[in-house]
Every structure is written in structure tokens, then in C-alpha cells.
Symmetry: C2
Subunit: 87 residues, 2 copies
């Protein structure tokens, strides 16, 4: 399945959330990751996220598509993940 994960978590959990997401997906921009995952791995990722967030204040969205990726992804402004590739 094609998955987009967008997290909005407290500052103290940002690094942890990025690290968790990156185990399964590719980083796109600050709080956005995307990639192809099997249903099993998606369930695993969600379970890890569930364990790591503060359920009173944090929020993580998973968009999933069974078939196609997307028609276009356009970035207006800077491409933050270019920096990540250099570091």
C-alpha cells in the first residue's frame, strides 16, 4: 500500500517519531514521510507509533492507498529533504 504519515507531536517526541517513521518510510519534509508498505508492516508501524505518542496531545495521520501512488507531488518553497540527503 502507498502510505503518507504526517505527525504533529510535542517537541520532546519529534525526534523519536521521525526515527520510528524512517524505519518504514522515506522522509519527505519536516513532519511528513511516505512510502510503500505491506499491510503487516503498516500495522507494525502504527503499533510503534501508538506506544510512543502522548495520546492526550499528539496526533499522527496515516493516509493509505491500496493502488496508486499519486499523480504529482509539488513542493513550493524549499525542498527540505535535499538537505537531509547531504547531511
Amino acid at each position: 500500500m502507498f502510505v503518507i504519515m504526517i505527525y504533529d507531536v510535542g517537541e520532546r517526541r519529534v525526534a523519536k517519531m521521525l526515527k520510528t517513521g524512517r524505519k518504514y518510510l522515506n522522509w519527505v519534509q519536516n513532519s511528513v514521510l511516505e512510502g510503500e508498505l505491506s499491510e503487516g508492516l503498516l500495522a507494525k508501524l502504527k503499533a510503534e507509533v501508538k506506544q510512543k505518542i502522548d495520546h492526550e496531545s499528539d496526533s499522527v495521520i496515516f493516509y493509505t492507498w491500496r493502488s496508486e501512488r499519486y499523480t504529482a507531488r509539488d513542493v513550493i518553497g524549499i525542498e527540505k529533504n535535499e538537505l537531509a540527503l547531504i547531511v
Copy 2:
């Protein structure tokens, strides 16, 4: 087209970006909006975003799909837009 817009902009431009996005899309979570738009309206939205961001530091992603919406959208943690509906 089905559109997901995710913005990552400096604090001083957050409110402006949300206001711009909301003219065309529905708010999902802090920096995420989604909705159905014609190609013409999407171009208009992008043009507005281009004018309003700081091109040295801000970043706005537009995912677009010609056909289907998505198979699922799951939120782990709080559903921030429920609050928005109450306010």
C-alpha cells in the same frame, strides 16, 4: 482532483497559510488540509501560496491524485479537527 496540502512555514506565516488553504480545502490537522479541487482552483491556490511564503525557509507540499481519494485515513492520538468544529 483530490489534493493534500501540508505546510511547514515560519511561525509568522502559519495563520496566513491556514487561512489561504481553508479558502480552497478542508482542514485536517495542524498543518494539513485536504479536499477536491479543479485544476484551475489548484493552480490558483498554488499561486497564492507562492506569493505568501518565504522562499528561503518555508516549504509547502501538494500531493494530487487525478482519480481516487484514499483508501483510509487513520489518526492515532487526538483528532485535532474535532476541536475546530466545536470552536
